[in-house]
């Protein structure tokens, strides 16, 4: 196994054959090259007044969409969600909405942790390595932008 993987070190590995026990764990630890594929976040609830902010769409377009929902769409409240890097943008959108409403709109922010899954696929299909998955956490924010109830 060692020889096939590292032909260059075959001469050394012959000496290593003398104590295969100590050698074999090293072979397993041998870091196989993986491609890291990030899965999409878990399925998200999507109502009409949910806005998921991303970093690909133009900021103004996302802001305009929120404004449209609040003003033209007749929604009294919308939810702006941001995950990871998009948290900043989500906050920005919410604060911009509030500022442009002359302080009428109120914000209620909640934070959460979202579990994300990465796939690790071995680069070389000949390798005996199995595809792995790795989970990690990322922070998210959910900002409710709403007109307070007249009381």
């Amino acid at each position: 196994m060692t020889e096939s993987r590292n032909p260059g070190i075959s001469s050394i590995s012959q000496t290593a054959q003398a104590h295969p026990e100590s050698c074999s764990p090293a072979v397993e630890m041998d870091p196989v090259e993986y491609t890291l594929r990030k899965r999409l976040p878990r399925k998200l609830p999507k109502r009409r007044n949910d806005v998921y902010v991303n970093m690909k769409t133009d900021f103004r377009a996302q802001l305009a969409r929120c404004q449209k929902l609040l003003e033209g769409g007749g929604h009294r409240e919308i939810c702006v969600h941001g995950l990871g890097l998009a948290i900043n943008r989500a906050i920005n959108i919410a604060l911009q909405l509030q500022a442009s409403s002359q302080g009428v709109l109120q914000l209620a922010a909640n934070t959460s942790t979202v579990e994300l899954v990465d796939d690790l696929e071995p680069e070389d299909p000949d390798e005996a390595a199995e595809p792995m998955t790795r989970t990690r956490n990322n922070s998210a924010i959910h900002i409710k932008v709403f007109y307070p109830d007249p009381q």
Binding site: E77, I91, A99, A108, A109, S112, F146, D149
Partner: protein
């Protein structure tokens, strides 16, 4: 020429330059520029530092040499400065009132910055919240602080949330109150020409403040999150302020997929809609 060499001899970089320079006549011209050079040199400390970094000969550093032909070196910095126009001299965050009115003054405030290491922040904050026993003779702090505030702005916002999330997970049953706002940052930019022209820029950056408390907080407050809720926002939907905590407590047993908040949303929402009235009474 001679005097020039003598003065500059402290800086060997310049020695060679001076030696190469063939025309003493240049000195006269440079000497006239010197006045400008001095003026810019004395008023711009920060510029000099940047030049040290860029590897440019930073002549102006040695203010003692300024009266002598060392000002020969001024032109290259001036060119360099012209490319950038203005330099940021200082950045101050304007003091803003505490976002949590009525908070005790002794609350631990963790100011999360862009470069802060989460392990440092959390190591400190967790020790204070859990309380170290027997640190100094013991019996001083039995169970640690009751409340902690994490604040951060700009690019540190994500890190701030992460810190709060980690603490919620580790400490458990913490009430949370999140506030968003713009923070005004004052930046002073100085003209590179050194003509004492300064620009003050007021920038607004989004900032977040998260209060985590072991004691109950006002559930009516916007941005309140009861302990151990993974999807509090969607439950709030039903009534803006009222019955947030009740609906939340009803929700928890319903969500069997604990760590997967999103997958359980639809279910939660449906239940909420269906028994919109009956959610409140169990309290």
């Amino acid at each position: 020429m001679f005097t020039g060499c003598g003065v500059v001899s402290g800086q060997n970089q310049y020695l060679s330059r001076d030696a190469v320079r063939p025309h003493p006549g240049l000195d006269v011209n440079r000497a006239i520029q010197m006045e400008n050079g001095v003026a810019s040199g004395t008023c711009s400390v920060y510029q000099d530092q940047t030049y040290c970094n860029t590897g440019q000969p930073a002549v102006v550093n040695n203010s003692s040499n300024l009266l002598k032909p060392t000002t020969v070196q001024v032109p290259p910095p001036a060119i360099k400065l012209g490319q950038e126009g203005f330099k940021k001299v200082c950045r101050t965050e304007e003091d803003s009132p505490c976002p949590f009115p009525g908070l005790a003054s002794g609350v631990l405030e963790m100011r999360v910055k862009e470069g802060s290491k989460i392990r440092n922040l959390m190591g400190f904050a967790m020790a204070r919240m859990q309380g170290e026993k027997g640190v100094s003779g013991g019996s001083v702090s039995s169970d640690g602080l009751r409340q902690v505030v994490f604040t951060g702005s700009g690019r540190a916002v994500t890190k701030t949330i992460t810190c709060a999330e980690i603490m919620k997970r580790k400490v458990g049953s913490l009430h949370q109150l999140t506030k968003l706002r713009y923070k005004v940052v004052k930046e002073v930019w100085e003209s590179s020409e050194g003509e004492t022209s300064e620009m003050t820029v007021h920038r607004t950056v989004p900032s977040i403040s998260i209060l985590l408390s072991k004691d109950p907080l006002d559930p009516q407050e916007p941005g309140y999150q009861p302990p151990e809720t993974l999807s509090a926002l969607w439950e709030e939907k039903e009534g803006v302020g009222s019955g947030v905590s009740q609906t939340a407590t009803c929700k928890r047993p319903l969500g069997p997929l604990g760590p997967l908040p999103y997958s359980s949303f639809h279910q939660c929402k449906r239940v909420c809609l269906g028994e919109g009235v009956s959610v409140l009474p169990p309290h």
